[in-house]
């Protein structure tokens, strides 16, 4: 699993750098554009999946904590909401970065 993750992340990194290298002269050819789109799609998929899983795990832990100690439910809920807001903001940042890569890429003249 770890090996697969490393290979996938390295592939994404290589694709991103390749797109930047192709786009360095101010114009992006079709291949580089395709790689950029692929990198953006994979990046968004990883960000959304990771954030979704993180939120689900956080919710599970909060529900278990509340079930074991109902008196701490209020504090757990506040911490959970704040944690989920932080996680969600990460996904939104990833979304903005991907939109920038796709439609407002600063490396494309």
């Amino acid at each position: 699993m770890r090996k697969f993750l490393m290979i996938a992340l390295n592939t994404v990194a290589l694709m991103s750098f390749a797109a930047l290298a192709f786009a360095a002269d101010g114009k992006m050819d079709a291949g580089a554009l395709g790689l950029t789109c692929l990198a953006a799609a994979i990046g968004m998929a990883i960000a959304a999946a990771g954030c979704g899983l993180g939120q689900g795990m956080g919710l599970k832990a909060a529900c278990e904590g509340t079930a074991r100690n109902p008196e701490a439910g209020g504090k757990i809920m506040v911490t959970l909401i704040l944690g989920l807001a932080f996680i969600e903001s990460l996904a939104i940042y990833a979304l903005v970065v991907n939109l920038i890569l796709l439609v407002a890429n600063p490396f494309v003249g």
Binding site: G52, G56, L59, K60, M77, V78, L84, A91, V96, V103
Partner: protein, 144 residues
């Protein structure tokens, strides 16, 4: 005036079902910040539109935080089920899709300043961080 506005916002949030005072405080701050920046942005838009897009980003961030808090406080006291986690995930993806559509429209069609949007979107994280720091400092003072 600010106090009265804050009190009214607090009451409105209470009626909407936000019972945790910390969440109400944070949401109140977010609503006031995004409302003020939107008003200031609209007023200054002919000269400098950065403020307007900052306000739009802050409003988007506030909407996300509001929807998240409203859903979570309704389910956290219930026993955990898979449907609950699935509901949270689908709501998260729905909100992300909605936010994505709005951001796409703003960045692609309206060519707004991305830095302004990002700064506006960061207000939620910043207010939570500021609240945490203030709370930590308050606890240290109490302990001393």
């Amino acid at each position: 005036m600010l106090k009265s506005l804050a009190r009214k916002t607090d009451e409105w949030l209470w009626h909407k079902g936000f019972r945790a005072s910390e969440i109400r405080l944070l949401l109140r701050c977010q609503i006031l910040v995004s409302g003020a920046s939107l008003l200031a942005g609209v007023a200054c838009a002919p000269l400098w539109d950065w403020g307007l897009w900052f306000g739009v980003g802050a409003a988007l961030s506030t909407f996300n935080f509001y929807a998240l808090a409203k859903f979570v406080q309704g389910i956290v006291f219930l026993p955990y089920t898979r449907a609950m986690a699935a509901g949270l995930m689908f709501r998260f993806y729905g909100r992300l899709l909605l936010t994505g559509l709005v951001l796409f429209g703003l960045i692609v069609w309206l060519n707004v300043s991305v830095s302004a949007l990002l700064a506006g979107l960061s207000t939620c994280v910043l207010s939570i961080a500021a609240w945490g720091i203030a709370r930590g400092a308050g606890q240290k003072v109490k302990e001393a």
